[in-house]
């Protein structure tokens, strides 16, 4: 947890943009490398925190960093942005894929053109990416949520899942591991439904409300993305079921804060996107410099060591973090 308590610098949006504008204007000198990251969506607090971490690492390791994503979780828009970074001759292009299949040919083409491609935040299995910078293992994330739910509702009960778009691979992986944990370890837990929203809080609210109607004995609702968290928690508050039904999920502290405090969402599971952005830029630098990435490593600027998992080429930030009413105020993303 100490790693996570690193205070986030108050980098203003404008300042970051101005720095980028200047950076693009001048030709990169010999030592500086250019790294781009394409998130799944632009402008959500999560990716802003990642950008802040990446900017800090960029200043540390002599990297010129640009982050630009689609304005909605749209695979085609993301592909367009990815390709434009490749064409602009960035040394490393990192991406958190919305849809893996859409990106596969583009990743192959980028590698052929001599551009390093890494995935960060979400992976592209089966692609030619060199490295996946992982926040936490999908399995750990799935298991942690299920374990924490069971710790609160007991080993028997009905659980509903509300997720964002069905095309986002990482979300689907977490759902699969939540289900796997329930099946293998908690036979009394029944996952009654998995529904997908269009990214609005309104739809998450609707799915959560309807799930409670369908199962009056429902005990927990898991919101798989930050976009679904306020909606599911608000649904429990509106139904006056705080204490009867718990909500949780992979929700950023800012979107979950009010509900964690009201008791509608007793805990949320995530990691520090600031550290993830930081690690991504560090990994990009190592890759371009041809420095080894192996075993357990200490990254200057990160409190805890990171782990390289050889067989899957995954650079792992660490175990997931659980935010509760006691700890949530230490984080701002």
């Amino acid at each position: 947890m100490s790693r996570l308590s690193t205070a986030l610098p108050a980098t203003s949006f404008l300042a970051a943009t101005a720095m980028l504008a200047i950076g693009i204007g001048q030709a990169a000198h010999a030592d500086t490398i250019r790294v781009a990251f394409v998130p799944q969506i632009q402008g959500i607090p999560y990716y802003v925190a990642m950008e802040n971490g990446a900017d800090a690492a960029a200043a540390e390791f002599d990297v010129e960093y640009v982050q630009q994503g689609p304005t909605s979780t749209n695979a085609v828009d993301q592909l367009r942005i990815f390709e434009s970074f490749v064409n602009q001759g960035f040394d490393v292009v990192a991406v958190s894929p919305v849809d893996v299949a859409t990106l596969l040919p583009a990743i192959a083409a980028a590698r052929e053109a001599g551009v390093h491609v890494i995935t960060s935040d979400a992976d592209a299995p089966g692609s030619e990416r060199e490295l996946f910078v992982a926040q936490a293992l999908d399995q750990d994330l799935g298991y942690t949520v299920m374990d924490e739910v069971v710790a609160r509702i007991g080993e028997e009960g009905k659980v509903a899942i509300v997720s964002d778009a069905p095309t986002i691979q990482s979300l689907n992986n977490w759902i699969a591991f939540i289900q796997e944990r329930a099946e293998t370890t908690y036979p009394g837990i029944e996952i009654v439904s998995v529904d997908h929203t269009d990214g609005t809080a309104a739809r998450a609210f609707q799915f959560a409300t309807d799930a409670m109607t369908r199962h009056p004995d429902l005990e927990a609702i898991i919101g798989i993305a930050s976009t679904t968290c306020p909606g599911v928690a608000q649904a429990v508050e509106a139904a006056d079921k705080i204490g009867e039904v718990i909500t949780t999920g992979y929700c950023s502290p800012n979107t979950a804060r009010e509900y964690v405090k009201s008791g509608a969402m007793p805990f949320t599971v995530l990691w520090s996107p600031y550290d993830l952005g930081y690690l991504t830029v560090w990994a990009a630098r190592q890759l371009v410099d041809g420095e080894p990435i192996e075993g357990q490593m200490t990254v200057p600027g990160l409190a805890d060591p990171v782990t390289f998992i050889e067989e899957d080429q995954i650079l792992l930030l660490g175990p997931p973090a659980v935010f509760t009413a006691d700890t949530i105020d230490d984080f701002d993303f």
């Binding site: 402008g43 959500i44 979107t255 009010e258």
Partner: protein, 342 residues
Amino acid sequence: MTSTSEVTGAGAAASAPAAAWRRAILRSPTLEREVALVLALAVTILIFANASPHFLTAGNAVQILRVSVDLAVISAGMTLLIIMGGIDVGVGGILAVSAIFIGRAYQIDLPVPLVVLIGLSAGALLGAVNGLLCARLRIPPIIATLGTMYIWLAVLFLVIGGQWIAGLPRTLGPLVNGSVFGVPAPLVVVAVVYGGCAILLYGLPFGRHIYAIGCNETAARLAGIDVVRVKVTTYALLGGLAGFAALLYVTRLRNVEINIGTNLALEAIAATILGGASIRGGVGSLLGTLLGVFFIKVIQNGLVLAGVSSLWERVIIGSVLLLVLVVEAVRARRGRSRGAPG
């Protein structure tokens, strides 16, 4: 330009208010559609009631009302607009920007009446911009409203700057969650909005001007109707209703998220077309639209309660919409080949 419905619409535009009311009710070109929708809704409800014991309950009905209210409010404005031959594919963007104004106003602790005023006027103003683009500059409505939507969504990104507005107060909560003499509040809200729009459309000269422009804009202009004024007012009205919907949305969900308003315009247009409006203008029904809204929301709700994957929802709504349009097209062709409207 001589299909049955348009001729009827033009007739309505020329007759006295009382006759217009009678015609609207008894000889409405959309009466058949409304009856068909009621039947479709009844069949859908029967199927879902059969599939889930929790579907046909008072609690669930109130839930459906609560989640329908913002879409219903916007669809009323969309109906007037489509009757006028216009359309607003970017109304979700207007709702988004209004929601930001509302959220920020709440955050600096403005008194609630002022927050309401700000929300409504922000929406009306953005709507009026669309109206001016369409009426003064003669930009096709789809293009104009698509263009402004992109600008509004960019505003959303720039203002929110990656931080959602969260934890807003629920001062207007009774509008969605309360009840008046046992009647759920959202039903009262919907009745007031649709009643107001019905008076405007069927009872006032303004409504006849909307029909006239939708049937034949040139003729309307030659007849002395101030087309620009009517158009700007109607777009502004939809904008104002979007502002009102934003108030309801914010009070219900208590946050302004980056994806706010996604799919809203498309759902409103789908409800309006399902309800019997012609995308070519001149025809449309407020009652039909309201039934269309409930049809969409009942399907969304029922599928979850029946345990069917929510991925089917769009398939079903899309198919029903296509079915309606195909039936319409076939009948229009037959009508033309007989050459005898009505």
